[in-house]
């Protein structure tokens, strides 16, 4: 019998602490046959499990162009993420996926790309950024605007430094007022304000935005003012999920199952959904 609820086993190959409460796992699928054939697309998610504690939903944070490992980042919030945090390198977790749709990066070749992320919202965006950077010649201008509450809350510090050092991308980092520390050379201000200041051009550009709801709420009018069309703004929703398979009934918004019809949506898509985000 094919068991759709059965996860693959994955080994935690490497642990990176991003912030005091956010951690990244580099994972290797244990079965070599599965590891060889496994593939996914930027924006898809998975169910990660600690046996005895349960499953939790996160995006795959690494790019599909980097095939010898998978990464996920999680913030310690609930039962499963607390249990994940207790694990060590070499330990085994369950991995079920990839699920859901993806960012249509193939179709968007030839365009400028604008990434806007806040806090842990950089995890799903990072996967897209790395994918775009690995296909750098297929896209025009690449702009990354990323903010967090404080310098300590910025995730993926290693990647941020790498992106900042590259001449072929524009990387703007910001922290909320009061969140700066000595030596901070980035912006100070909320993400919407910084987006307005940087004023990326909307023409021939697609935007990927992910972060806390309040950040998205105040950034959207800015993007509209800059001339971005709803169908050129992509985001990824992270509703509470259990099965990831369009069955358990939790993640729906209207007749859309976020786990199957999403998690990637354009703002034009979201406008057609009932106001129940």
């Amino acid at each position: 019998m094919e068991n759709i609820y059965k996860p693959y086993l994955a080994e935690i190959a490497e642990i990176t602490d991003e912030t005091p409460d956010t951690r990244t796992f580099k994972l290797k699928l244990k079965d070599p046959e599965i590891a060889k054939t496994f593939n996914f697309k930027a924006g898809q998610f998975a169910e990660y499990s600690v046996f005895g504690e349960g499953e939790s939903t996160f995006c795959i944070a690494s790019s599909p162009t980097r095939t010898d490992f998978l990464e996920c980042s999680f913030k310690v919030y609930g039962k499963v993420t607390q249990a994940l945090k207790r694990l060590n390198e070499g330990d085994t977790i369950g991995f079920r996926g990839p699920y859901g749709n993806w960012f249509p990066l193939e179709d968007l070749k030839g365009k400028n790309v604008l990434f806007i992320a806040g806090g842990i919202g950089l995890a799903p965006v990072r996967c897209v950024i790395d994918n775009v950077l690995d296909w750098r010649n297929d896209y025009k201008d690449v702009t990354i605007i990323y903010g967090a509450r404080s310098v300590a809350d910025l995730v993926y510090k290693q990647e941020l430094a790498e992106w900042k050092s590259r001449q072929d991308i524009k990387t703007v980092l910001t922290v909320d007022p009061g969140g700066e520390s000595d030596g901070w050379d980035g912006e100070v201000g909320f993400v919407p304000t910084v987006v307005e200041k940087i004023a990326p051009k909307a023409e021939n550009t697609f935007a990927v935005i992910c972060g806390p709801p309040v950040m998205i709420k105040f950034t959207m009018p800015v993007l509209k003012k800059l001339g971005f069309k709803d169908e050129d703004i992509f985001t990824t929703l992270e509703n509470r999920m259990k099965c990831g398979l369009g069955k358990c009934g939790r993640c729906n918004i209207g007749n859309v199952y976020v786990c199957k019809d999403g998690p990637v949506f354009t703002y034009a898509d979201l406008k057609n959904l009932p106001d129940e985000m």
Partner: protein, 336 residues
């Protein structure tokens, strides 16, 4: 349609045969559908009140293991559970129950196939029984069914008199069943059963489901949702007794320090924690939004997605509601 006759005495013989051969037999009792051990449990009374809960637990159990795990040092072993593969005969199900699997099939099979559901469902033989019960909560006729609907039945029984039943053969599965147990059936005369089904008193049609669908599409924001939400206790009994509610949770259950099982178990969209994000954000943070989800899921979303109403009109949710929320009344008022 082929029709046979079976006497009450032969039904007893048939049921005894099924039980003796090691197959599972399920029948409605006074309050529940349960596995029949003794044939006197089989009432076959068309006038009986619907049981408190439907029989969905026999294909979609309240709780079932989806895997077993064993934790070792740096490793985990996963074992698949066995799904018992026994022919299961449900005898005397009401039409508002028989069509439930057909509705649920879409959900358990769109794209990803839930074989736990499918294996059990494939092993089911549904022997429906015409219904001549009706109370203020019944509304099968408003959701496209009726007390004489054979939808979802493999064989459909119509009581001709106290001691004989017409047995209409509805599906190929039903035909095979009748062939297997042919000694209990004799040839029938459909004129009499036709007359009986024509004379069954139908529950009045309470609403037009197409109009309700249209109204729901325009009234996501409406004061009635908060109104009924304030009344609701969020206990989710309505979901648990429903033949087609199917929300579930996935939870790990340790036996000891190294072993345990992952369970898939019933859940309900009326619980506040159902959609609660780890961050504390909750898209359906008040009961009114959760009740709105319940009605919309049944009469709009499921229709849009799978082309069927997620409701059989059995009225169990209303009959069992501790605060007398009546779905028929609420849906009937989904109009301007």
């Amino acid at each position: 349609m082929e029709e046979k006759i079976i006497t009450r005495e032969n039904i007893n013989g048939l049921c005894r045969d099924i039980i003796d051969s090691g197959n599972v037999m399920i029948a409605p009792g006074q309050t529940e559908y349960s596995i029949v051990k003794d044939i006197s449990q089989i009432a076959l009374d068309a006038r009986a009140k619907p049981t408190k809960a439907s029989y969905k637990t026999f294909v979609f159990p309240k709780a079932e293991p989806i895997l077993y795990y064993k934790r070792g040092k740096n490793n985990v072993q996963i074992l698949d559970p066995e799904v018992e593969q026994k022919q299961t005969v449900i005898f005397g199900a009401k039409p508002c129950d028989t069509n439930s699997f057909g509705i649920l099939k879409h959900l358990f099979n769109w794209d990803y196939k839930d074989e736990f559901f499918n294996l059990r469902e494939n092993n089911f033989i549904v022997i429906g029984l015409m219904c001549s019960f009706s109370d203020e909560y019944c509304f099968c006729t408003s959701v496209g069914s009726s007390p004489v609907s054979d939808k979802g039945s493999d064989i459909f029984l119509i009581p001709l008199d106290g001691s004989t039943f017409a047995a209409r053969i509805i599906t190929e599965k039903g035909k095979e069943f009748v062939n297997e147990y042919s000694k209990y059936f004799t040839d029938g005369n459909s004129a009499k059963s036709e007359e009986i089904t024509k004379n069954v008193k139908l529950p009045a049609v309470a609403f037009d489901s197409k109009e309700v669908h249209e109204w729901l599409g325009k009234n996501f924001e409406h004061p009635k949702w908060e109104g009924v939400g304030d009344l609701c206790l969020s206990c989710a009994q309505c979901a648990f007794v429903c033949p087609v509610c199917h929300c579930f949770d996935i939870v790990d259950e340790d036996y000891n320090y190294t072993e345990g099982r992952r369970m898939k178990h019933w859940d309900g969209c009326q619980f506040g924690h159902f959609t609660l994000h780890a961050s504390g954000h909750n898209p359906r943070d008040i009961q009114g939004k959760r009740y709105r989800q319940r009605i919309n899921h049944k009469f709009k979303y499921y229709v849009d997605k799978f082309g069927e109403i997620l409701c059989t009109g059995c009225g169990r949710c209303s009959r069992g509601c501790a605060v007398s929320i009546d779905i028929k009344e609420i849906v009937s008022n989904c109009k301007d």
